[in-house]
């Protein structure tokens, strides 16, 4: 026995706050304060209510991307997945509310199909996720054009009220995003499969050594992500009155950006759902703010790039080693400029 008769029992906190969450949350608060001072119009109720539904859609897409990224993968079929859901729920009903439910079911069925295809290729065949999802994306766009012919149709009234409406002043899309966040968090943190999923992401080799079916979990991530993309697409169709057939295109890079800003490593590991959602809010508000300042689109994009660079640097740079490196007097010059 050790020094004491009974070793002190170990405790566990109910809530833990990751470095990523802390970073993006503080950034968001700072951004809101700066917005209120420099561009008050960007935090006016109208502007916020206009921004939130799109932030919610980005958050849901981001959650899907996060599940794949935490398994060391990446899903480039975001545009196809989102666009296909948009097209299905606008074209199938063609403004007829009665056909909305079958259309939504069809969107989820397609999502499962696309997810299984990606999952099979990455998990089973061991294909590189970039290629596999790139191919799937092209196929999904084939379906998008096959269904829509590239022509937009108006959203049904029911979907517009579900996706674009408000309850108690809260946009529905926000509620959906919160629902998705809670669902993802519970599934990952509180179910057997979810905890195993997280373990596989943290270390496939260790997961394998403990007898987990790591390839199945790695493949399953793509099904979850497509389901979330479809959800986002359906919402987007509700928010936008006449969505185009390429509505999902803008979400490819931003989904990766919010995941990275939320602190999830592109090399895989633990996923941070809350931080990802906050990062989506941050990026959307950043857009609003820069827009309200009246600066051109170009500056907005540059600010986004800077935010991403700083975000990635915070998580990836080994600051301690860097300090040591610069402390060393005779450190060789980094690179020669031409």
């Amino acid at each position: 026995m050790a020094d004491t008769s009974m070793p002190r029992s170990l405790t566990s906190a109910r809530v833990s706050i990751s470095k990523g969450l802390l970073t993006v949350a503080i950034s968001l608060v700072v951004l809101v304060v700066v917005s209120a001072i420099l561009a008050p119009s960007s935090v006016s109720p109208g502007a916020v209510l206009g921004m939130l539904p799109f932030a919610a859609v980005l958050a849901i897409v981001g959650l899907g991307q996060m599940l794949v990224v935490q398994q060391g993968g990446i899903d480039l079929s975001v545009p196809g997945g989102v666009s296909l859901a948009v097209v299905l729920v606008t074209h199938m009903p063609n403004e007829n509310d009665a056909l909305l439910v079958p259309a939504v079911l069809a969107a989820f069925a397609w999502a499962i199909g696309a997810g299984l295809l990606n999952g099979f290729m990455v998990g089973r065949l061991g294909l590189n996720p970039i290629i596999a999802t790139l191919g799937t994306n092209a196929l999904l766009f084939g379906a998008v054009l096959g269904i829509s012919g590239g022509i937009p149709r108006t959203t049904t009234r029911l979907l517009a009220s579900i996706g674009g409406g408000q309850t108690l002043g809260i946009p529905h899309a926000v509620l959906f995003a919160l629902g998705a966040l809670i669902l993802v968090s519970i599934l990952v943190k509180r179910t057997v499969a979810g905890r195993r999923f997280e373990a596989v992401g943290a270390s496939p080799a260790a997961a394998r050594a403990t007898g987990l079916r790591y390839r199945t979990h790695q493949g399953a991530a793509y099904v979850w992500s497509q389901l979330l993309f479809a959800t986002a697409g359906i919402l987007l169709a509700g928010i936008t009155n006449q969505p185009t057939a390429f509505q999902g295109n803008t979400y490819l890079l931003t989904s990766v950006a919010v995941v990275v800003l939320g602190g999830t490593s592109l090399l895989g590991g633990r996923g941070f759902p809350v931080a990802t959602v906050v990062a989506a809010l941050f990026l959307s508000q950043l857009d609003q703010f820069v827009l309200a300042l009246g600066v051109p689109f170009a500056v907005r994009t540059l600010v986004q790039a800077a935010a991403l660079a700083i975000g990635v640097a915070i998580y990836t740079v080994n600051w301690a080693a860097l300090r040591q490196r610069f402390a060393r007097a005779s450190a060789p010059a980094a690179i020669a400029t031409p």
């Binding site: 196929l139 084939g142 057997v192 790695q218 170009a298 994009t301 660079a309």
Partner: protein
């Protein structure tokens, strides 16, 4: 004990190390060790695992810098020794893990590792290379990919590389471990021949028989201290053994099993054969702990992995009289790997998550995991093992080695296993925790769960186990019970073993068949080579072209041909750049926005009214901008350590912003004369396309025949090995990204003529289409292998497919579907071809 019994050296020592000390984080690895290697001698370095043999030789070759001590090479004291300096002074080290580049051919491996003076350009190069392989008896074709070689063949290749530089001192670290008898004989003959020419050899080994057969003198290390140096003929095996053993171990052990000798057998394995081990049989009764002894890497870990259900095996395993299959073992056996860092624990997760991962079902109430139940059971188990951690939420990486090991034990116990397999359970564990771990293992065993412990520390097995098997090269060379279990007996069995490695095919006897079936072999080599995908693509293109032509004969009209080739030129140049990024093992997402940005830059200089100087300045500005972007990408990836995706994604967004900053709307019409010059045609073929083809040929030759190409592929193939053969990986990769951007610049010139105006929104699509073209061409996203020719054909096929939909009157939907099918078909086909080639199963995904 014996002190050095050498006579005064007659000649100047090749290597002389005096008073070397080195400690890692407070633990002494070497303490005041001196070693002298004379010209023309084989000097054996003998000792247990962890005795400091490899550390000492890493000091000698400059890989590790000692804390204290003097190193002299050829009588000249060297103050600061780094690997390059050591190589320059003629020291060659053949490591246990060969530094070979799997994606490159045998010849290329020689070329990238050896100075040009040894393998001069010209006709004699192949002869010299053949000779190098013949010296070590390696019977492989020079254009075989190293990935397809066996472990032993890779080893021989490594030895061939070391011998090629004609070193004055050759260090061999356990060279016979992966070799079969024939190769061992050949190696010994080689070493004898070598020292006869006056070279010195340091031979690290565990085996007394090899010392006797080969060495002139022997130095024994134990616990990082010099035990003795002696002339082999003047020292007996018994004396050597007594120098090796006798390590002090302060741990206390729990009492051994003292139940009735004829109790029921609880664990029995009969005739187990699998990867790395052969005909292993063990049995133990309830309450007994089984030990697996031997020098590290002699099949112990492989045996444990197989028993954990992680590798397939033949033979029978019975637990409590019931036969169990590998599948059941995977689910029910608890395996504690030796490598806690990468395989044992999920270092990024908390103590709680690690301990719970194998027992999650037990915490379930309803659909969800009950937090209360989880914390309760975890608290009990971790408490009973007295795990010390800040909290259950502490990252497991923050714990000490001993506590990490206990977390693994807790995980094992919580999963209610039928068998516990512990590989090196006390490696990196402090003395106090050791005793606790021994106690836990004993308790578990007493509770009736069979426990198997593999350890390279014989003293530990002596204290802990009730029955021990000693393994050597995959065979059981001794089975000990009761009082026979002593450190001396185990080490004796291990070091006097003369068994040879199982499952090796180092000397392929198809040398004669090779010529007979020469044609078949070269077909196989072609299919495994880099050029199969381009040929496949060419066939697909011809077939598709013929099909379309049959439907519509305007397809091969001059106008269509030249417009297709012009489109191909823009994509082609960009895809060439992407190929380089992928060859380094990275990716460049920024090529699309970059090409757009460069056109925007050009649109300020290359206008209709611009003078010639302005036009030239414009091209210079575009080139300069592309080089800067390449440097930024490369620096972010190599020096700031962004992942390639994160780095180039950031640059992607930034470049888009810059384009819009310079040109908020499309403006600046490109000089039409410049456009006309660039799109000049020779018959139906644009000059630009001819230039592209020439660039492709140039790059292809550079990739295969020049040091630049070898280094690029080496860095992408295996970074660690590349560094060990002397490739400056950082520089190579950064310059690779610069080349990627510079080729994108050529693409931008083509795109400029196509859109004719500085439009900030153009170009982005080239990111994905360039990746598609490269992948179609067969370049691997894992880095290290690919061809520019394949990328050219991939670009052509992509353009052809897009064009085909017009001629076949298919709508836009088919453009996408055909693209998708092409990508997936190519990816799946190449992946299958590759997995067939690579037979060895890898644990890591």
């Amino acid at each position: 004990m014996n002190m050095p019994t050498t006579e005064a050296p007659a000649a100047v020592a090749t290597l002389s190390m005096t008073g070397i000390s080195k400690s890692f984080g407070g633990a002494a690895a070497l303490t005041d060790v001196s070693l002298e290697v004379l010209p023309g001698e084989v000097h054996a370095l003998l000792g247990e695992n962890g005795a400091g043999k490899s550390t000492l030789m890493n000091v000698a070759t400059g890989t590790i810098r000692p804390d204290r001590g003097i190193i002299a090479i050829g009588g000249e004291v060297v103050d600061v020794l780094d690997p390059r300096e050591a190589t320059r002074r003629g020291i060659a080290f053949v490591h246990q893990h060969p530094a070979v580049l799997p994606d490159m051919t045998v010849l290329e491996n020689l070329l990238v590792a050896l100075p040009a003076s040894i393998l001069p350009r010209g006709a004699s190069r192949l002869d010299v290379a053949h000779e190098l392989l013949a010296t070590v008896g390696l019977k492989v074709h020079l254009s075989d990919r190293v990935e397809t070689l066996s472990v032993a063949q890779k080893h021989l290749l490594e030895i061939a590389k070391a011998l090629a530089v004609k070193p004055s001192l050759l260090v061999l670290d356990e060279p016979t471990a992966p070799l079969g008898q024939d190769s061992v004989d050949m190696l010994f003959a080689l070493v004898r021949d070598f020292v006869a020419q006056g070279t010195s050899v340091v031979y690290i080994t565990h085996r007394l028989a090899e010392v006797r057969e080969l060495a002139d003198r022997v130095t024994v290390l134990r616990d990082g201290r010099l035990r003795a140096t002696a002339i082999v003929d003047e020292i007996s095996d018994r004396e050597l053994l007594s120098l090796i053993v006798g390590r002090q171990l302060d741990s206390t052990f729990p009492p051994k099993f003292d139940g009735p000798r004829e109790g029921a057998t609880s664990f029995a394995a009969t005739g187990l054969t699998g990867p790395g081990f052969n005909e292993v049989s063990i049995s133990a009764q309830r309450g007994e702990i089984i030990g697996v002894a031997g020098v590290v890497g002699n099949g112990q870990s492989d045996l444990l992995r197989a028993l954990a259900g992680l590798a397939s095996f033949d033979g029978a395993v019975e637990i409590e009289g019931r036969a169990v299959t590998g599948k059941e073992l995977l689910a029910r056996a608890a395996y504690l790997p030796a490598d806690r860092l990468s395989e044992g624990l999920m270092m990024r997760l908390s103590v709680r998550e690690n301990a719970a991962v194998s027992a999650l079902r037990r915490f379930r109430s309803g659909l969800l995991i009950s937090r209360k139940r989880e914390l309760g059971m975890l608290g009990d188990t971790l408490g009973s093992l007295s795990v010390k951690a800040a909290s259950l939420d502490a990252p497991v990486s923050s714990l000490s080695g001993g506590n990490q090991q206990k977390v693994m034990m807790a995980r094992a116990l919580l999963s209610e296993p039928v068998l516990i397999l512990a590989d090196e359970p006390t490696q990196g564990v402090d003395v106090g925790a050791r005793a606790e771990i021994y106690g836990i293992l004993r308790e578990v065993s007493a509770a009736g769960i069979p426990v198997i412990v593999a350890s390279s520390d014989a003293k530990e097995l002596e204290g802990l186990c009730d029955t021990v098997i000693v393994m050597s090269r995959g065979h059981v060379v001794d089975t000990l019970r009761g009082a026979e279990i002593t450190e001396e007996r185990m080490i004796h069995s291990a070091v006097s073993s003369t068994t040879r490695t199982v499952n090796v095919d180092d000397v392929r006897n198809d040398g004669a068949d090779e010529r007979a079936a020469g044609r078949r072999a070269s077909v196989r080599r072609f299919l495994q080579g880099d050029y199969a995908p381009p040929v496949l693509l060419a066939i697909v293109m011809l077939a598709l072209g013929a099909f379309i032509f049959a439907q519509n004969d305007r397809y091969l009209g001059d106008f269509n041909i030249s417009s297709m080739l012009l489109l191909t030129s823009a994509l082609g140049f960009i895809a060439m750049g992407q190929t380089i990024a992928l060859l380094t093992g990275g990716i460049d997402l920024s090529v699309g926005p970059l090409v757009g940005f460069l056109v925007v830059v050009g649109s300020f200089f290359i206008l209709n009214e611009s003078p010639t100087t302005s036009i030239l300045l414009g091209f210079a500005a575009m080139l300069a901008a592309s080089i800067v972007v390449g440097l930024v990408n490369g620096a972010l990836i190599r020096y700031v350590k962004f992942t390639a995706i994160a780095a180039t994604l950031t640059v992607y967004i930034a470049l888009q912003g810059l384009s819009f900053l310079l040109r908020p709307t499309a403006e600046g019409f490109i000089n039409s004369e410049v456009s006309r010059a660039i799109t000049t045609k020779l018959g139906p073929v644009p000059i630009a396309f001819i230039v592209l083809v020439l660039v492709v040929i140039g790059l292809e030759v550079a990739l295969r025949r020049t040091p630049w190409g070898w280094r690029l592929r080496a860095a992408g193939s295996d970074e660690e090995s590349a560094r060990r053969v002397g490739v400056e990986v950082n520089r190579t990769v950064v310059l690779g990204y610069v080349a990627t951007s510079a080729l994108t610049f050529l693409g931008a010139i083509m795109l400029m003529t196509q859109i004719g105006v500085g439009d900030p929104a153009q170009g982005v699509a080239y990111t994905l289409s360039s990746i598609t073209a490269v992948v179609l061409g067969g370049t691997s996203l894992l880095g290290g292998r690919g061809t520019f020719v394949g990328t050219l054909f991939g670009s052509m096929l992509l353009i052809q497919v897009l064009n085909a939909t017009v001629f076949l009157r298919l709508d836009q939907m088919w453009q996408y579907i055909l693209q998708g099918v092409l990508i997936l078909a190519a990816a799946i086909l190449y992946a299958i071809a590759r997995s067939k080639r690579r037979r060895r199963a890898t644990a890591r995904p």
